[in-house]
């Protein structure tokens, strides 16, 4: 059993998918199916590195924010009506959180590089959170497809960008999105996504991508490509078709953008095909 749980594919993919699927099935009808994201991510963290917060490194700050995000998401969904102002505040908070995560690293760098890296990462995470909440939160299939693209895109790019740890964490987000989509596709009924699903996914995915940029070797233009994934989830889809066709169509769009980001990272890493 231990051997199985030590396998990277189980730690980052299979186990998080199973955990997310259980949560989506059990809590989906209670409008809390979005908690599948945090279930998957926590499973991955538990199996890969465990929960430890001292010293508070950048990676541990990301885990901490990922744990806080669904709480804020539930509050945003159930205690407040979604407004543009609320979404803007959450996006700005996500940008500020990005700077908090990477501040000790940025302080060690030249001011110009620190401003470019920190500013770029903060804008990217703020964009991912803001746009995802505003444009995808009310559309569970599009939200799930965006999550699939972000998770797979960030995960595989991170593996190529020299961090298998961030790769597994990213892929666990993709597994969560897949587990969130699957019951909808098979059952033909939509779950609620909202901020409960979208905030942890966009924030954690964005922070992992930023971490791979700042702490590993993700090229900046791959981060830029990853930021287009939520936009791809807004492309026209066959709205009157069965849910599974909609999910496949939108996921194909988000995964295509993710594939561009992965290809750019592969090229920057000097990878050779064949």
């Amino acid at each position: 059993m231990n051997e199985l749980l030590n396998h990277p594919a189980v730690q980052g993919g299979v186990a998080p998918f199973v955990a997310a699927l259980i949560v989506a099935l059990v809590l989906g009808r209670a409008k809390l199916g979005g908690l599948a994201v945090i279930a998957a991510f926590c499973t991955a963290v538990y199996l890969i590195s465990g929960f430890s917060f001292t010293p508070l490194t950048a990676t541990r700050k990301i885990v901490l924010l990922a744990l806080a995000a669904p709480v804020i998401g539930i509050l945003a969904d159930f205690a407040f009506k979604p407004t543009r102002l609320g979404t803007a505040i959450l996006a700005l908070a996500a940008g500020a959180a990005t700077l908090w995560v990477f501040w000790p690293v940025l302080q060690q760098k030249d001011l110009k590089i620190a401003a470019l890296l920190g500013g770029g990462a903060a804008v990217c995470v703020a964009w991912l959170v803001g746009f995802s909440l505003a444009a995808l939160g009310a559309h569970p299939v599009r939200a799930g497809a965006a999550g699939l693209g972000i998770g797979i895109g960030v995960g595989v790019s991170a593996v190529l960008g020299a961090s298998a740890l961030y790769g597994q964490y990213g892929i666990s987000l993709g597994a969560a999105a897949g587990a969130f989509l699957l019951p909808q596709m098979l059952g033909g009924k939509k779950y609620e996504a909202g901020a409960t699903f979208m905030l942890p996914l966009a924030l954690t995915g964005g922070l992992l991508a930023a971490a791979t940029l700042i702490l590993a070797q993700l090229p900046w233009y791959s981060l830029l490509a990853l930021a287009f994934i939520p936009l791809a989830a807004r492309l026209p889809a066959p709205e009157k078709s069965p849910l599974w066709i909609q999910a496949v169509a939108v996921s194909a769009c988000t995964l295509a953008v993710a594939a561009v980001a992965i290809a750019l990272t592969w090229q920057a890493a000097g990878g050779q095909s064949g």
Binding site: S52, P55, T57, A164, G270
Partner: protein, 195 residues
């Protein structure tokens, strides 16, 4: 008066010479931390850090000493620095947040808390290793300690090998355990010139 002065000097000079701790600066070209870690439980992979600075002192009369070493973690090498068609080399992976996280923690340090002598030479060094922002005790056992003039430059120097082991997971470096072993065997070859 002359006899008294000579007598006082005869007593005081050797005492002061013996009692004073001797300070040494580490020679970065002959001081390398080396490590060994199990890979998949099959082979033991070895590597080293090529950029090390620091200082040490020895007080032979008091049988005490100090050692401070700072290692640039980005200088890690395991002999696999070439991507060779892969997206990353093993050394690049070791520099990533999965292992040494060199962008966030560019240095690791070792500082003594006490030195126990074995005869006239340092035998056991108790100290703290700071790695990935975590500080934990680490004991090093000294072998082959020798002091004397450098045969070429005639500068006074000391050198030896110190070794110990620790669990990397104690410092939060948990990625890949147990496939990449948890226990790290560490050896530091140290040479330093008298200040």
């Amino acid at each position: 008066m002359y006899r008294l002065t000579v007598a006082l000097l005869a007593v005081a000079l050797p005492l002061s010479a013996v009692a004073a701790p001797e300070n040494y600066t580490i020679d970065p070209f002959h001081s390398y931390p080396n490590f060994e870690v199990s890979h998949l439980g099959m082979s033991n992979m070895r590597g080293q850090f090529t950029k090390t600075t620091g200082k040490f002192s020895i007080d032979r009369a008091a049988k005490t000493g100090t050692l401070e070493i700072t290692v640039q973690t980005a200088s890690i090498t395991t002999g696999d620095g070439d991507k060779a068609g892969r997206p990353r080399s093993r050394d690049e992976h070791l520099r990533s947040p999965d292992f040494f996280n060199v962008a966030e923690f560019p240095t690791m340090t070792y500082k003594t808390t006490s030195v126990k002598f074995n005869g006239d030479n340092p035998g056991t060094i108790e100290g703290n290793l700071t790695l990935l922002g975590a500080t934990k005790p680490l004991t090093l056992h000294v072998e082959n300690w020798k002091c004397g003039p450098n045969p070429a430059s005639k500068k006074e120097m000391c050198g030896g090998n110190a070794g110990g082991s620790f669990k990397r997971s104690d410092f939060g470096m948990k990625y890949g355990v147990p496939n990449v072993g948890d226990e790290i065997k560490l050896w530091i070859e140290i040479e330093g010139y008298k200040d």
